[in-house]
Symmetry: C2
Subunit: 275 residues, 2 copies
């Protein structure tokens, strides 16, 4: 595995935008509830989201499921959202949680990462049930966030199981991602990040800073995590976390002004806690 | 969790078609290599695949990645493939390996399973890194195949890890799926199947028949498993396995006659081994 060549890495681009807008990642999840409350269809949601995101947040995270829900027309709307955000200077982390065997991963990576991708995100989430070692196709095309510790309690059954070395699946994942980043980007923040829910007890048994990657922290707001939980979980590397909220922010829509105010308030709170 | 209501279950429909066509599941993976070798674009592939599948196989398994690779236009082609196969009497198992937290899974399930789904497959694959217990949204809408033991060696790092009860993640998955099926479909083959690669050593330590579900066995042909491996792995429940091959069969294209002959030969070999 080699990392995708890039004049400026995702981590560098995030650091610049974080300095301007704060670390908040705006989750763009157009559930039926949100569309109903806003009184819009999916393309109307995309129009408002584009206006609200540009010049307001560092990163947006569209959840692919809520676009796929509308068939190919929904994927077309997602396509417009992704390119529009990037044109507006907003980083796009596509939450797609793909993950399969190597040859299939090559097709998923070509779909969403790197030059020529029909939906060209800046980074995407992947799921490692088929092994972190099978995820090379993504890493060769662009930065990924590997689901490591999910924010839901049901994930414990898999993520807290232990390998022959006595480490849990999620501990092993953090170590293996760290080894990958050390090789791909020595001395820098590497291209392999982790999705790491801050809703369980803070991980005393994991050295998150040593992973040398970014973290997506989902579950802020409706899923139960607070900004203080995020600050506690990532105390060792507060500048490397992208705290993500969706439902609690979208509740301030459908006006662009309402959304931007909600984003600003949460982002300011996070900035004061994370520095 | 309750199962989706259905006049005839997926297992019953599979059993009928299996009696007519054999157990083979035709993988419809239009990789760049296949499109190049056939000299067609994605819609040309879909046209040929529809002709080759109808009246030839029990089940097809389109791999979503190879359609998403072409953006929303590719998803539109997938949509046409899925509805066309079903109209031709062929069961469609969509290989999408989705898996997320509960509310997101609801959107994915509504995208691909049950009445009103814009891409309405008969069943789909899901990935349980976020927990089998988070997959209820799928099961409520239609049959699923949960990735349990993948066909790639990299998956061992997660799937062979052990929980506090000493069972591996994949052993626990087989037991938990069995408990779900016993509750949802007592005395019958239940709506929750497993994706179970026959390429590793046969699982002496798992009671596959007791899971009371169907199995998708990927990796036949190019990935290294033989029909004899499938027969050995599923000796306890040979009538519940869908052995899947893609690349080795698509190599017989692009003529419909060539594809149908390759499908017939492999299906006959599987029927003679699996009964």
């Amino acid at each position: 595995v080699t990392a995708a060549p890039s004049a400026e890495t995702f981590a560098e681009r995030f650091a610049k935008r974080r300095a301007e807008f704060g670390p908040l990642c705006l989750g763009l999840d157009p559930s039926d509830d949100v569309l109903g409350a806003w009184g819009v269809d999916l393309d109307g949601f995309v129009d408002i989201a584009l206006d609200a995101a540009a010049g307001s947040v560092a990163v947006v995270k569209p959840q692919s499921a809520f676009y796929e829900r509308h068939g190919w027309q929904g994927v077309r709307s997602l396509s417009r959202l992704v390119s529009g955000c990037r044109e507006g200077g907003v980083l796009v982390l596509l939450d797609a949680k793909r993950g399969d065997v190597g040859s299939t991963n090559e097709a998923y990576a070509a779909a969403y990462l790197g030059d020529g991708a029909p939906i060209h995100a800046d980074a995407m989430t992947v799921t490692p049930y088929l092994g972190l070692a099978a995820m090379g196709a993504y890493i060769e095309r662009g930065p990924v966030f590997v689901v490591t510790r999910s924010s839901n309690p049901e994930g414990r059954a898999v993520q807290a199981a232990r390998g022959p070395d006595g480490l849990t699946v999620e501990q092993r994942m953090v170590l293996d991602i760290g080894a990958l980043n050390a090789r791909l980007a020595p001395g820098a923040v590497g291209p392999v990040g982790g999705v790491f829910g801050p809703t369980h007890a803070p991980p005393d048994d994991m050295d998150l800073a040593a992973m040398n990657g970014l973290f997506l922290a989902p579950g802020l707001g409706t899923q139960g995590a607070t900004p203080a939980d995020v600050a506690a979980c990532f105390a060792a590397c507060p500048d490397r976390v992208l705290p993500s909220a969706s439902r609690s922010l979208l509740a301030a829509g459908p006006t662009v002004a309402g959304l931007r105010a909600a984003v600003r308030a949460l982002s300011d709170e996070l900035s004061s806690l994370l520095g």
